[in-house]
């Protein structure tokens, strides 16, 4: 019995020491709520940790979180600024139509269900957006970016982070230096309009477009040394203009073949469908049917 009590005491002592040692990391807890316009603007600065922004059908702004960092907030019913000094995990509920601006150093940024304008900026954190925001600007140096659902307009930029764009978007732009770009575009065949305007650029990373082109849409893909892969429905009506300086071009969509690094052809009457342009210096270009 004494021996068991001794072990129990030892375990409790270790647990208590462990708990006390962890306590400072979660010491600060934040919880606040303010009335907020349905299209109000919220600016969030949180250098490290995690920022989760959730759209809701309530005309108020609520923030909760924890961390060793401190939260300061100021603003009105139409504009509010939340500033974290240090590191914190934040969950911010905003009206669906809100305009959201987030800046972080290493914090990951997640946005779910916001239909307004998003301006998301991180140095090393990942950025994930799920929903149908009207306008998205997302920049991160090293982290990956994923937009899922679709947006009216999206501009994504990374240095080395991978970019994944999924859903029914109208106007897309993505550029990266050494990351990859993957676009999976749902379009008019599934109720959307297809990509009306898309520009995807990489220096060394691969660029892959897999999806439906909007009628009359313009899609440009460019890479210096990465591969460019296009997969579109077999029935796509478009003018294709593919050029590589030192790479190869493979066409499995039609019987047309490239000559001296150039492949130009139309499926259907010229000018009647979308316009697709691909340019590479030494990356290979491939065109396939979905």
């Amino acid at each position: 019995m004494t021996r068991h009590l001794g072990w129990l005491g030892f375990v409790l002592a270790v647990a208590a020491r462990s708990a006390l040692g962890q306590a400072p990391a979660d010491h600060n807890r934040f919880e606040a709520r303010w009335p907020f316009d349905s299209d109000g603007s919220v600016r969030i600065v949180d250098p490290a940790g995690r920022i989760r922004v959730i759209g809701w059908d309530v005309d108020s702004l609520a923030v909760s979180g924890r961390g060793p960092g401190r939260l300061a907030a100021a603003g009105t019913v139409s504009v509010r600024k939340l500033v974290v000094t240090g590191r914190a995990e934040l969950e911010v509920h905003v009206p669906r139509g809100a305009r959201v601006w987030v800046k972080s150093a290493s914090a990951d940024i997640d946005v779910v269900g916001v239909d307004g304008t998003l301006d998301l900026n991180s140095v090393a954190g990942a950025i994930h957006v799920v929903g149908t925001p009207a306008d998205v600007t997302a920049e991160t140096m090293d982290g990956p970016v994923e937009l899922a659902g679709g947006s009216g307009r999206a501009r994504v930029k990374t240095v080395s982070g991978a970019i994944l764009l999924r859903g029914a978007s109208v106007d897309l732009g993505a550029s990266t230096l050494s990351g990859t770009i993957v676009v999976r575009a749902a379009g008019w065949q599934r109720g959307g309009t297809g990509v009306q305007r898309g520009k995807f650029e990489s220096v060394t990373g691969d660029v892959r477009f897999d999806g439906e082109l909007g009628r009359g849409g313009i899609v440009e893909l460019e890479s210096q040394s990465g591969a460019i892969a296009l997969r579109v429905p077999a029935a796509t009506v478009a003018d294709f203009d593919l050029v590589t300086i030192a790479g190869s071009i493979t066409n499995r969509l039609t019987a047309a073949t490239a000559e001296r690094g150039v492949l130009r052809f139309s499926t259907g009457a010229e000018g009647a469908g979308a316009q697709v342009t691909a340019r590479s210096f030494k990356g290979n270009i491939s065109l396939d049917a979905k």
Binding site: R43, G69, A72, A74, S78, K81, A124, L177, Q224
Partner: protein, 200 residues
Amino acid sequence: MMCNEWETQLNEYVDGTLAAEARALVEAHLAGCAGCRAAVVELRALVAGAADLPKRIEPARDLWTGIAARVGKREVRNGKRWWRTALAAAATLVIGFAVYRLLPPFAAHYRPVGEGWLAVEAQYEQASDELTRALATERDRLAPATVALLERNLAAIDAALRESRDALARDPENVELRGLVASAAREKVELLRWATRVAT
């Protein structure tokens, strides 16, 4: 109440990141708008409040001892930060103008600039060097991982630029090549601009 259309500028104004011209515009607006003046007072109070918060929250001593042994103390400099930001902004403007002249329009087909190409390239090189020098003065403000990432990607883009320029030298009238050189140049400018912004 703050004018919604001025929100971004007012935040940048309070953060001290506006160029002189934009700052003057904001001040002109503030002179006639009580709502925005009140917003600026509130934003300044917020920034001051955030600045008064502890810069560092010390973790448990037993945790910090291990970390401190491995991480060197990092100097934090705040002095004369504004002029570095201004220098970076000015360099960015020059480069932006140079690249604007370099770049083709968004449409797939464009016309080359012909004999102006070399002059524009030289202008770009000069502006790029200026921005690189500005960045060098702020280099120690960047995290080591960011510096490593920056160097790796600058090397990659310089290699890409070299390759495409060499090819252009062999085929100077190639419009597609000019477009690719212009794109790589723009990517480099964007990378330098971004790094400068992060550093300042």
